[in-house]
């Protein structure tokens, strides 16, 4: 789960000295598979429609006719937008990231094209972690949501559709305990 340093530096505006990335989580790969399947279905619609129209209605579209020009230009725009929507959905998947360091939890979420949220919370403030796996597919592929409740504030971090949510929850709890113990020891020595 190591991240290359330049990549890490960019996603970490204000990375503190001594801060180490202990875990970073993305959405489960099934989210990407769903995007691919949906795009393939959209790409197949005009092909199937054209096949049905040509074979059942016996429409003769001559090369060079106005209908031909409109069809080619229309299909061209349609496929351009299918490609753009696929890229958009992939971007949404790619830009959602949850990072756990030895100091904090960072929630980076791309909600829409012009809507991006970067929230963070001290790892020591973690109070309660819940993981939800609902449905047949999530149970089968072991993915779901991890909800982190932090102390004192009403901030909830939700790691959405992540792989192995129970293990992620356990790991965050372990990091939290470790950090809390270290800080207590440092406090008693000072």
């Amino acid at each position: 789960m190591a991240i290359s340093p330049p990549f890490l530096e960019k996603i970490f505006p204000g990375k503190e000295p001594g801060e180490q990335v202990l875990m970073y989580v993305r959405r489960h790969w099934i989210v990407l598979v769903r995007i691919i399947i949906r795009t393939m279905m959209f790409a197949l619609v005009p092909i199937v429609a054209l096949f049905i129209v040509v074979n059942t209605l016996i429409v003769n579209i001559e090369t060079g006719s106005t209908a031909y020009i409109l069809l080619v230009l229309g299909l061209s725009l349609y496929y351009l937008f299918v490609a753009l929507f696929f890229y958009h959905d992939w971007l949404d998947y790619h830009l959602d990231l949850w990072i756990v360091t030895n100091l904090r939890i960072i929630n980076i979420e791309q909600k829409r094209l012009f809507s991006r949220t970067v929230a963070q919370q001290d790892i020591e403030r973690v109070q309660d972690i819940t993981c939800d796996i609902h449905g047949k597919l999530p149970t089968l592929l072991d993915f779901g949501n991890v909800t982190i409740q932090t102390a004192g504030e009403k901030i909830q971090f939700v790691f959405e559709q992540v792989a192995h949510p129970q293990e992620v929850a356990k790991e965050i709890m372990r990091i939290h305990r470790e950090v809390a113990t270290t800080r207590r020891q440092e406090g008693s020595t000072n």
Binding site: S4, F7, E9, K10, I11, V59, N60, I61, E62, T63, G64, S65, T66, A67, Y68, I69, L70, V72, L73, S76, L77, Y79, L80, F81, A83, L84, F86, Y87, H88, W90, L91, H94, L95, L97, Q110, L113, R116
Partner: protein, 86 residues
């Protein structure tokens, strides 16, 4: 009233210009927020490649069209020279 055929690619180009603006914003997002790793590069090149492929196919399919022609708006059919009711 007659409409020149080249009006259609002109409309296409206007829509494509808007499309390019949005495509550019998407690519900017990947680069700007520091997620331009190998996967992002691969996907971005695939996206640009697919745009070029679609444009190439469009140009190839429209190559035999005589753009000097016109579309008569009083014509009973837009499906070539075939009469609507033979």
């Amino acid at each position: 009233m007659e409409l020149p055929l080249f009006i259609f690619p002109l409309i296409y180009l206007v829509v494509f210009a808007i499309y390019l603006f949005f495509a550019g914003i998407h690519i900017y997002h990947v680069a700007r927020f520091g997620f331009f790793d190998f996967r992002a590069r691969l996907m971005t090149f695939a996206f640009i490649g697919s745009i070029l492929l679609i444009l190439g196919a469009t140009a190839m399919l429209l190559a035999p069209v005589d753009w000097a022609g016109t579309l008569s708006l009083s014509s009973p059919s837009i499906y070539g020279d075939l009469p609507t009711f033979p």
